[in-house]
Symmetry: C2
Subunit: 414 residues, 2 copies
């Protein structure tokens, strides 16, 4: 498409990460430097902010604060979970977006998120094209789940993986400190892909990780799980550390929490099934069937917003992904997502490329079967070689009073 002149709009979508704001910084700093971009807008709460005409003039921010975004976790503009209907079914939202884009002469649109957000990007792109409104649209990938198709890895994954591996090493030292046994079950995010849980294998690679790892890529067998845990504990003074994905399911497709609830009649006095986290549920089950001290731990939101443990590689790549998106759009590209292609060779190096956004939308990338060791013993050397370069280096916010000095945006409404 053409080399357009006009405003640019940027939005953040889906669950936050430690580095989604680093991509925002990349987009903003690059966009403010581009001659063809007349105004830089940041949408409050993603697509919702566009629909509601609620966005900020990024040109009014201090450059220093924009750079501080690189180390500020979560989504500084606010996020949203909003799935656009197909334009064929209901084009109300699309008409509204077109109206707003026309009103503010938005000729560049950058959207930062995971599968669903790339789907949103794709749908808007197709609609605007059909409407004859010229606007270059580039998706910037982001997800701790690392499940986006077509890119070697996703910004956000490296930092979350570093959080998981580091924290698992520390937990290992804590959970094995007594001469008495303890079975420790750690729940890690990931509904359908186990990339983040797999990162706990990096701790095992250092000798301080889980004994057993359960991923959503493989059917979960509760009886087998109990036997495996008992075998490890029996051989190891009653100590066993387990890492598992929140999304593990039994062979018949049920979440483990539901499966256990169904089987053990753990219902409350009103007959409701009590649903907790999968680690807590399995901990209760292990306590009942094996006994001894059992502890469930959830990395919860901390694993996705723990920017104090961000990987330098991840922070810089996320920043660069934002810059590449803007440069590519200004060069006339549209309807693409930025992807990372790993160069062959021993030294880790990536190139930033563009891929048709349609390919990224709604496709999930899972861990290759042959990277998963049998009997839940963890991940193969291929996975270690894949993941280790992504967690290299430290990069965090400067300290002020011993605490992180995160970006403070003015957020001047347009």
């Amino acid at each position: 498409m053409k080399n357009l002149v006009g405003a640019c709009m940027f939005g953040q979508s889906g669950g936050p990460t430690s580095v989604i704001n680093s991509s925002a910084a990349g987009v903003f700093i690059e966009a403010l430097a581009q001659k063809n971009i007349t105004k830089v807008y940041g949408a409050a709460n993603g697509i919702q902010g566009i629909l509601n005409e609620n966005f900020y003039d990024i040109g009014k921010e201090d450059e220093k604060e924009l750079y501080l975004l690189k180390n500020t976790p979560s989504s500084a503009l606010g996020s949203v979970r909003y799935k656009l209907k197909s334009a064929d079914v209901d084009d109300t939202d699309y008409k509204r977006i077109l109206e707003v884009f026309k009103k503010y002469n938005v000729r560049y649109f950058f959207y930062n998120g995971g599968n669903d957000s790339m789907d949103t990007c794709n749908k808007i792109s197709k609609y605007l094209l059909k409407s004859g409104y010229e606007c270059n649209i580039i998706g910037v990938p982001k997800t701790i789940d690392n499940d986006l198709y077509g890119t070697d890895h996703c910004p956000g994954y490296g930092s979350a993986a570093k959080y998981v591996a580091t924290t698992m090493m520390e937990l290992f030292l804590d959970a094995t400190v007594y001469d008495k046994g303890q079975i420790t079950i750690v729940e890690i995010m990931g509904r359908n892909a186990g990339w983040l849980t797999a990162a706990s294998a990096l701790a095992s690679y250092k000798g301080l990780g889980p004994d057993l790892i359960y991923l959503p890529e493989q059917a979960f067998d509760i009886e087998k799980f109990l036997i495996q845990v008992k075998n490890v504990a029996d051989a190891n003074q009653g100590k066993c550390i387990v890492a598992l994905s929140e999304g593990i399911k039994t062979a018949d497709g049920k979440y483990v929490v539901e499966a256990i609830a169904d089987s053990s009649a753990a219902k409350d006095s009103f007959g409701h099934t009590q649903l907790g986290g999968v680690a807590a549920t399995l901990a209760g089950h292990v306590k009942e069937k094996i006994g001894g001290k059992v502890r469930a731990i959830e990395f919860s939101l901390m694993q996705r917003c723990g920017a104090h443990l961000a990987s330098k590689v991840d922070v810089e790549e996320a920043f660069e992904a934002g810059r590449v998106a803007v440069r590519s759009a200004c060069e006339g590209n549209t309807d693409k997502m930025v992807v990372f292609i790993r160069k062959p060779g021993k030294e880790y190096e990536i190139s930033y490329e563009l891929m048709d956004i349609e390919l990224a939308a709604n496709t999930e990338k899972k861990i290759p079967d042959n990277w998963i060791l049998p009997d839940n013993k963890g991940l193969s050397q291929e996975f270690i070689d894949y993941a280790l370069p992504l967690i290299q280096g430290d990069c965090k916010a400067p300290l002020e009073d011993g605490l992180p000095r995160f970006a403070k945006l003015r957020k001047v409404k347009v």
Copy 2:
């Protein structure tokens, strides 16, 4: 007591911290340098290791690894929770300790722990004195709870407080990212004293902390809690962040989990009361009574072993406390605990002093009433001024493959 010549024994006890090994490093490095100390032993699993004659020859460790202990969380020698009976009731253990100390000519004993450990130290000290066996005994304080009497603060607290404050700031950004509301309830360690939960007020001081803070120092009123949460959420787009101590109790002395279980008949099908964490229990209660999205988060073991977020002040003070213990014992002191006395004045500075160990044993220091703001609104400026100097600076293990390189001890058995 005299300037004794003989071996020294060191043990770690109670729950781990991020810096308990820093004190171990201080003890080991100083002891290895003292002329009067002929051998340096480290007891496996504290007092248990002495009773079982299970200890390591620290002289056989690499000095480099001993220095790496400064940034290695948890208890490198293994810990124990073992309460000695009174010697008047049953002196079996004491006789055994005396026997082992005689066999290895142990003339210096250093024990690193909290109230219970200081009680152990005190009992052994009194027994050996009565038995006429000369041994200089010094306690080294340690607890994330910060509840030891007689010291301005305890090694371990600063780092745990830094973990809590930093993580709370990150969580704040994550938990408020959507335009939809969410009530977030964060559970922090502390059975009887709220020092660690209070550290979340440091995040509020930076504008990114909890709206409401509940400490065990004050009776917890479930109805009042619901009203306070609802009021904050109503005024704030449904968003409210709560920090609370695991040990909060109702006015009649019941733990909140028990109190709610009693009142709401949340029993399972076998009639057992379902006990979970207090945050999870209150989250369920809030969901039932107020509705909306509610999330319970536990900082769990991470808050006490998160050495990657250790405070430099804490690491150095813990190390120095170990060195001071050894030097003081070699100068003839015994039956004391090392304490930190804060010097008056604007600049933070402490001196290392000795206090009768009996005073430390089994006395709990709580947060002064006048530091606690009314209506659970947090902590006063006095608390901020007290706590802020303790979390200053970063100090963590060197990275190897992007992950912490913790100490690897040879652990050569004696």
